[in-house]
Amino acid sequence: MQWVVATAAFFASAVEFVEAFTIVLVVGVTVNWRSALLGALAAAATLALLVATLGTALVQWVPLDVLRTVIGTLLLLFGLKWLKNAIMRYAGLKARHDEQAIYEEKRAELRAREAVDVSSSRFDLFGFLLSYKSVLLEGLEVAFIVITFGLSAATSAVSRSSGIASAALGALAAGLLVILVGALVRVPLANVPENTLKFIVGIMLTTFGTFWLGEGFGVEWPLSDVFLLVLAAIYLGAAFSLIVWLKRVKKQQRAQATIENQSTPTTVQKQEVNP
């Protein structure tokens, strides 16, 4: 069992599962549970098929160095996107992802359609498709993380299948935890610190992406695998500095906007007095 890979996959997948769970919950509550669960199950089956075929093909046919370079690049792109969004949310430049707001918005959308009898267990195509689409899209990100982390973790001592299995177990644990907690509380998981999770995952993906891309280009990192911690520390330090800087920039922009707003009415008043 590769614990680092499993943990990384767990955190990354938990965020996606919370997002998918919110939509399935709103379909279940607003349309009916039959359509919501059938949509979620159909999406899970599609994802399993994708991972099985794509994962197996990659495991069998592509050389390890090529995989490390391609996957390192993809992880960097993916990780920087998450890190950028998390930094912007911390700095107040972007609204925090609010599951409660998404829940209410989707609920209003569904209610705006023709009245649906919630107590009926009749299959509803719209509810099914909405549930299917959300689970498939969020699940694709989970599948991507599982395959890339699993494959990149492979070394001479650890087989690629073992890496994928560890990452898949991490994702499965996250999925089960989200479903269990969600089933118990039956409300959108708004208290999950989603931005913190995305920030941690962004740092992890960027760290692993840098490490593996470097290895793909023949870089021999000092201290070997321990250098992952050094990379994580570098990116953490940079991220915190960027948050502080962006907060200052935002404060300055606000102050400037306030001054401009205060000066505008004075000009109008003068114009009114002296037509």
């Binding site: 370079t69 690049t73 993809l74 960097l76 792109l77 993916f78 920087l80 996107k81 890190l83 950028k84 930094i87 912007m88 430049l93 694709l140 990100e141 960027t206 840098t210 891309l213 470097g214 280009f217 023949g218 870089v219 990192w221 990379l231 570098i234 990116y235 940079a238 960027l242 962006l246 920039v249 935002k250 922009q253």
Partner: protein
């Protein structure tokens, strides 16, 4: 075209990050494959880290100083 856009949005969705990482990979490829740049091979790791950090700073600066904000 729609499929390409969907894949782009799914993987990165940010042109500055994409260009930054592509340039970094290009520089690393040149360092590793052009004989004249052989002496720089020892600097591949630092070049990669600086490339990643520069891409992050560039995309955040773009967002912070965007006229739409």
């Amino acid at each position: 075209m729609k499929i390409i856009k969907a894949i782009y949005n799914f993987i990165v969705g940010d042109m500055v990050i994409l260009i930054g990482i592509a340039l970094t990979v290009l520089v690393l490829a040149l360092i590793n494959n052009v004989g004249a740049l052989g002496p720089l091979r020892g600097l591949s790791g630092p070049v990669l880290i600086v490339g990643v950090l520069t891409s992050l700073v560039a995309t955040l600066s773009r967002e912070a100083f965007s006229p739409d904000r």
